[in-house]
């Protein structure tokens, strides 16, 4: 058994220290060490986007990042985007548009969409589809997901302008 490494990171705004083995992915660390199971595993090789998190402002597949690489980084997971006692506009719009069926891909989609809107507050439908092409959903046909993201973008733009 390999020696464990102590890693300090900021996860969802909180300073966290954890021990991980050198081979463990950030996804394993989140789910098995820190028990943040909102981040899902669909393929473990970067194909499906269910494990997406935001790392220092960049959207990543957490299954393709090593846990030790999180040293000194800021990480946002699905557990960390809602305000206290409420929902993020993307979360609210996913519910209003029925943009989820089974819901297993939903955390990854919401994180990816947040990363998109952080970069580009007013995406076109094509831009949303292009950005979300790294997230697989097998239930919805994407129609309602795309509408939810476009609607959330509108709501967030109004909130910013207030």
């Amino acid at each position: 058994m390999a020696n464990k490494t102590a890693v300090q990171a900021t996860i969802n705004g909180e300073d966290v220290e954890f021990l991980c083995e050198p081979h463990q992915s950030l996804l394993e660390v989140l789910r098995d060490v820190l028990r943040l199971t909102g981040t899902k595993e669909g393929c473990n090789n970067g194909n499906c986007g269910a494990c997406n998190v935001i790392l220092d402002g960049v959207l990543v597949n957490s299954c393709l990042v090593l846990g030790v690489e999180a040293q000194g980084k800021r990480i946002t997971t699905i557990e960390g985007i809602a305000p206290p006692h409420g929902l993020h506009p993307l979360q609210q719009k996913f519910l209003e548009h029925a943009a989820l069926q089974c819901g297993i891909c939903t955390p990854g989609f919401i994180i990816s969409a947040k990363a998109l809107l952080d970069h580009k507050p007013h995406p076109s439908e094509h831009e949303v589809r292009h950005w979300l092409a790294g997230n697989l959903c097998r239930c919805t046909g994407y129609d309602k997901i795309v509408r939810a993201v476009l609607d959330a973008a509108d709501v967030m733009a109004v909130e910013v302008s207030k």
């Binding site: 669909g42 499906c48 989820l100 069926q101 297993i104 589809r129 919805t140």
Partner: protein
């Protein structure tokens, strides 16, 4: 599932008049939604128990081989490894066929699929499993299990498996030939036939005859959540299993059979499920996790598949070869149809060829027809149900031929379907009389749609070809199965709805809405919950488009019981006869007395006996669903790439309880059908090894591959459901492949006869048929 004629006759008729609903037809937020958008919802692989071990499964590298020996000693000696299991730990079960999930299974074969006994029958077939203190140790231990194989020749397609002299998978298998048992070892498990009328006369009446042979590849359901099971075999010999399943009770029954234990020893706790589409109606890991727990000294064991294991080790749906010969009179009337279809079941019998034999022509009036279906075993994973099992391949074949007949006759393809479309009183090819259905309504709605009325779009790039295609689909919903619910009125006026039907895509809210409608409450007043197998009566799987229909009937009946009890409570309160107490829209009244549901619930309180109801039903009505789809495609004849430009799916849904989730089913089914049509298939090498067992190489549609999918809801209420519900989940996957093929023919003049219509197959068709374009 099909409805036997006898059962249909005794189905209860409920009159559904034009009704105004308060809750049904609205779009409330789903009750489980907040947990699912915040990451709090717990799915199977999210279970974390103290002292939990990690299990992994060793799988066959061969498509077909005899197992000579298995030596697990080195694996067991590895630090951290706590247990190893093989098929030696499973009892040899009797060869008995029983209904499981949506289909039938032979218990011995189910057990042999979970852990191979004397032979491995496909690349990925489970051979052994280990439990260790870490995932890493478990994976390392797999490499230390020494399995000696004697490789055997393999057969991958039904055509290969049916050839004389083909390698035999199951030495004891004999063909069930129209009910008679064959005498020689074979890979053909069964041959069934539906027929009516006089084929020869029908073809003689035809002005045009089209005959084609279609082949389709193996496709997987492609749910994003891999299979997972966590089990604790308690020191009291009670077994608890946490799993993602389409039916907790059915999973319990399967585990009980495989482990030869009474069901009362097993509790299945259903976790949230990350998609199933039929694929999670059969078990793979649950008994393995339970045995590993037992052998490791009662420690919790979690076994989760990798994505490759999901592709290689769990049931996809059948590849198939389908011959269709159809004749039509010059007025468009189909005069005769002959179909021969062989579906590959994978390692053990049980392909959905029976469903396919129904689907293929049931949308149409057929006077002279013969359909022959063969169920064939092959060295590929044992198939599991996949959304309208067998339907997409079948409709690809029949809808292509009907389209070609219409083209040859110069008849509009939707008019062709109107001329031949089935309606109430017609007799299905497979026997039963057709009740009120909305097929012709879907055709008319499609014809009147903005999509169909609009001209074809111009190509995005000069030189590309655009075309439009239509196709219809029929699917018979499972007429019932058992559903059980319990309802408890809380003293704050809310109502707990306790169910056992897996919520795979919003059924909690659909059940809550039906109860709210019955009681005259709001959807938010109902608290729906899916509980474990010890805590509610038996529920069949969430499959066969049955849940909103069957469990909905149970919910309605439970609601009626609550209403009756509330009337009695009010009668006691007012000291009047309960017969004089009315209940309407959540208000209980008698002469001058009125009281709202919530106020009465508060008055009843907890001290005077709760108002509760438990209902278990097994309805036997029918809920045939029909759909008509329209698609515009753009074909690049240089590369063979097909792009979907526009898609409209029209469906008779009976009554849409929650229209947003009904649309979601239609859109999702269409998207899966488009993936099947354009991209998806298992690719094997000569030795029968799966080459594309990843989500990158087995590419399912992404957001960028699809346009918005317009779902058009047609409501022709189902007379056998109190609110007119039809199952909506399955039929939307039936038409897409046929519609896309017809659009490609419209664009290029070339008829596709192979699924998927990938660039490679489209180019092959363009090159070989290029000279015969129509």
């Amino acid at each position: 599932m099909e409805t036997p004629v006898a059962e249909q006759a005794k189905a209860t008729e409920v009159s559904v008049e034009e009704r105004h609903y308060n809750i049904i037809g609205t779009r409330p937020i789903r009750h489980d939604g907040a947990d699912k958008v915040t990451g709090k919802a717990l799915y199977g692989a999210d279970v974390r128990l103290n002292g939990m071990l990690y299990g992994k499964v060793l799988r066959s590298p061969h498509a077909h081989a005899r197992i000579l020996s298995i030596d697990v000693s080195r694996a067991l000696a590895l630090p951290g490894v706590k247990a190893v299991v093989t098929s030696a730990d499973l009892a040899t079960l009797d060869s008995v066929v029983s209904r499981v999930g949506e289909g039938a299974v032979n218990w011995r074969y189910l057990s042999n699929n979970i852990l191979a006994s004397d032979k491995v029958l496909y690349h990925g077939h489970a051979v052994a499993a280990v439990a260790a203190t870490s995932l890493n140790a478990a994976n390392e231990a797999l490499n230390l299990i020494d399995v000696q194989y004697e490789p055997l020749p393999c057969v991958i397609t039904a055509v290969q498996a049916m050839r004389p002299g083909a390698p035999i998978l199951l030495q004891e298998l004999r063909t069930n030939e129209l009910g008679a048992r064959g005498e020689i070892p074979t890979n053909i498990a069964s041959h069934d036939q539906n027929m009516r009328g006089d084929l020869e006369r029908g073809f003689a009446e035809a002005a045009v005859i089209v005959e084609r042979e279609f082949t389709t590849g193996i496709v997987h359901q492609g749910y994003i959540e891999p299979h997972t099971a966590t089990a604790v075999w308690g020191t009291d010999d009670q077994i608890t299993i946490w799993t993602s399943t389409q039916g907790a009770h059915d999973a319990r029954r399967q585990v009980a059979e495989v482990l030869q234990l009474p069901v009362s020893r097993i509790k299945v706790i259903p976790m949230e499920i990350g998609g199933g589409f039929g694929g999670k109606t059969v078990i793979y890991l649950e008994p393995v996790a339970a045995l590993l727990s037992w052998k490791s000294g009662n420690r919790p064991v979690q076994v989760t598949m990798s994505r490759f294991e999901v592709f290689a080790g769990t049931g996809p749906t059948s590849s198939s070869v389908i011959k269709v010969k159809m004749g039509s009179a010059s007025d468009g009337r189909i005069t005769a149809a002959q179909v021969t279809m062989a579906y590959a079941a994978g390692a053990f019998p049980g392909s959905p060829v029976g469903g396919a034999m129904s689907v293929i022509l049931n949308a149409y009036r057929m006077e002279n027809v013969q359909i022959d279906g063969y169920d064939v075993v092959t060295n590929t994973p044992r198939v599991a149900a996949y959304r309208a099992p067998g339907g997409t391949n079948a409709a690809f074949a029949s809808e292509s031929v009907i389209d070609e007949l219409a083209c040859k006759l110069g008849i509009d393809p939707l008019e062709m379907r109107r001329i031949n479309g089935a309606k109430e009183g017609d007799r299905r090819v497979d026997g039963p009389l057709i009740r009120r259905i909305g097929y012709l309504e879907t055709v008319e709605k499609a014809r009147a749609s903005a999509h169909y009325q609009s001209p074809l779009p111009a190509p995005s790039t000069p030189g590309l070809k655009v075309g439009r295609g239509v196709a219809s689909g029929w699917w018979g919903n499972w007429p019932g199965g058992t559903s059980s619910v319990s309802v408890i009125v809380n003293n704050d006026g809310t109502v707990n709805l306790i169910e056992g039907s897996t919520d795979i895509g919003g059924s909690r809210v659909a059940m809550a809405m039906q109860l709210a409608e019955t009681l005259g409450l709001q959807a938010a007043d109902i608290k729906p919950m899916v509980v474990d197998t010890d805590s509610v009566g038996y529920n069949d799987v969430t499959a066969g488009s049955r849940t909103t229909y069957s469990t909905g009937i149970a919910v309605h009946k439970a609601g009626l019981s609550i209403i009756q009890q509330m009337r009695e409570r009010a009668a006691q309160l007012w000291d009047v006869e309960s017969a004089s107490v009315d209940y309407a829209d959540g208000v209980i009244s008698s002469k001058d007395n009125h009281i709202g549901f919530k106020e009465l619930a508060r008055k009843v309180g907890d001290g005077d006996g709760n108002v509760v109801a438990s209902i278990s039903i097994s309805p036997n009505g029918d809920g045939v669903a029909l759909a008509t789809h329209i698609v515009d495609v753009e074909v690049d004849e240089e590369t063979g790439k097909v792009q979907i430009l526009r898609y409209t799916a029209v469906q008779d849904v009976g009554t849409a309880i929650h229209p947003a989730y009904v649309e979601g089913q239609i859109q999702g089914g269409a998207a899966q059908g488009i993936g099947w049509a354009l991209n998806e298939e298992y690719v094997y090498d000569q030795q029968g090894r799966l080459l594309n067992g990843s989500l990158l190489d087995y590419s399912i549609p992404t957001a960028l591959d699809l346009p918005m999918i317009e779902a058009v809801i047609v409501e022709v209420p189902n007379p056998t459901h109190p609110f007119g519900v039809r199952g909506v989940g399955e039929v939307p996957i039936v038409p897409p492949a046929g519609a896309v093929a017809n659009a490609i023919a419209n664009a290029t003049g070339v008829r596709m006869t192979v699924l998927p219509m990938s660039p490679q197959h489209v180019l092959e068709a363009l090159w070989t048929q290029g000279n015969e374009r129509v």
